[in-house]
């Protein structure tokens, strides 16, 4: 059947995947990392729940946030949590952030031919106490970066981080002179996700934000728009 613009409508095929929306981001500093995600779960134009956590604390020094399909996020986090616990009981110490990052990558690639519909970001402090952020695609491609954003609001957040953290397209501050402080990073992350909440209909309600350094993890929550 052809419409007036000549588009051909094909019979719709059932898909096992749905997108529940939401945005996640993380920023790494010299000795800390900030990680945040919103908590809205949507389906189409409806809100299923205003609070559904996308954040998991894996160890005191490492956390993960995921966006995409809530069912797969829940399962991936469940598997990840139990694998981290098994490791800790076997080796007598918690997993290092690098180990967690690699584990997530392997768990995702294990499902190469029926992937988890999740877009993950792992953040924490590594063995040397340096902040790190790891960004993934749906099948586990691993890349260590200074900052990352994923989810429906990622295209709204990433350019802000490009400009404010990596100082891209700026000739007024030199990279050597710029120090990313914890307060600046927290404010920037809060501001960026609030801005995403203004313009993206799938981002809103609440944000879970977490600051990780060598002393441990400090978790916090704040509100976004409800409309």
């Amino acid at each position: 059947m052809e419409t007036y613009l000549g588009e051909k409508q094909q019979a719709r095929q059932w898909s096992p995947y749905i997108n529940n929306g939401g945005s996640c981001l993380a920023v790494a500093g010299d000795d800390f990392a900030v990680i945040a995600s919103d908590t809205r779960m949507s389906l189409g134009y409806s809100i299923k729940t205003r609070y559904s956590t996308k954040y998991l604390k894996i160890t005191e020094k490492c956390s993960i946030v995921s966006s995409g399909m809530q069912a797969d996020i829940f399962t991936l986090h469940k598997v990840l949590k139990s694998r981290a616990q098994i490791y800790e009981q076997k080796h007598g110490k918690p997993m290092s952030t690098d180990a967690v990052a690699k584990l997530v990558s392997r768990l995702l690639y294990y499902r190469r031919f029926f992937p988890y519909y999740t877009f993950n970001i792992v953040a924490g402090v590594d063995e040397d106490g340096v902040g790190c952020v790891f960004s993934y695609d749906a099948i586990g491609t691993l890349e260590r970066v200074k900052y990352s954003a994923s989810g429906s609001g990622s295209s709204l957040i990433e350019p802000v981080l490009d400009n404010q953290v990596a100082l891209k397209n700026r000739n007024d501050i030199k990279k050597e002179e710029f120090k990313l402080t914890k307060e600046y990073a927290i404010d920037l992350v809060k501001d960026a996700i609030t801005s995403a909440g203004e313009r993206d209909i799938y981002t809103g309600d609440f944000v879970e934000i977490s600051v990780i350094d060598l002393n441990g993890t400090h978790e916090d929550k704040f509100e976004l728009r409800f409309d």
């Binding site: 613009l5 189409g44 203004e198 728009r225 409309d227």
Partner: protein
Amino acid sequence: MQKGGFNFDLYQRNVELIEKNNYKVPKTTKTGTTIVGVVFSDGVVLGADTRATSGPIVADPNCEKIHKISDYIWCAGAGTAADTENTTGMISLQLELLSLSTGRSPRVRTALTLLKNFLFRYHGYISAALVLGGVDFTGPHLHMIHPHGSTSTLPYISMGSGSLAAMAVLETGYNSKMGEEDAKSLVHQAILSGILNDLGSGGNVDLCVIKHKSMEFFRNVDTTNSKRKFRKKLPYMFKSGSTKILEKEIEEKMRKMEIVNEKESQIEELEEL
């Protein structure tokens, strides 16, 4: 030579672009929307949210969805923003010309007929879903108009993606003996329900109360949902030079003014009139 109407010159080209060149059709700005109308003892109340979306992005967080058809006939529109704006605009002009030529004040049912005939001609391709309400010399009227051109006359109406959320409130709270304040409050709650529960609707609440020879437009009557909850303390500072200057060209804007003729007497004449 075609005078007026729609121009189909590019139709063939568009079909070829899509089929052969894999061209992606650009997204239209839709108004997502919750629009509502309620009849009360003395007139009608129209309500609308203020969010316009382009896919999942908010294109305009505070747009106006309640359009004027005539002084006491107003129309709230849902669907494609360009379609609702231009359809109501066109019919508003036609109605004014008609009322000038007939020497009578316009009726709501006239606007209804003009709108439904226009939309039916385009078989739903003009995606405008409207809630038309007003008070004319025959009394208060409220109608709903679907994009294909069908209409209904009802005491309370909701349309748009948030219509189910709004209708839930209307069905609970409506009674035929409502006064102005009750009706305003009901419409307000219905729009709020759409704003909070529907992702295609959001922003502020707009209300329009029309009574006999009186119209009150409450723009942004409720802004509690559109306030930004967090603002970074330190502003974003970009010192001069942060964007590279490649070329500089300075143009003189102010030219010297020459006094050609002094015409004081002409101004005095105008004041007398």
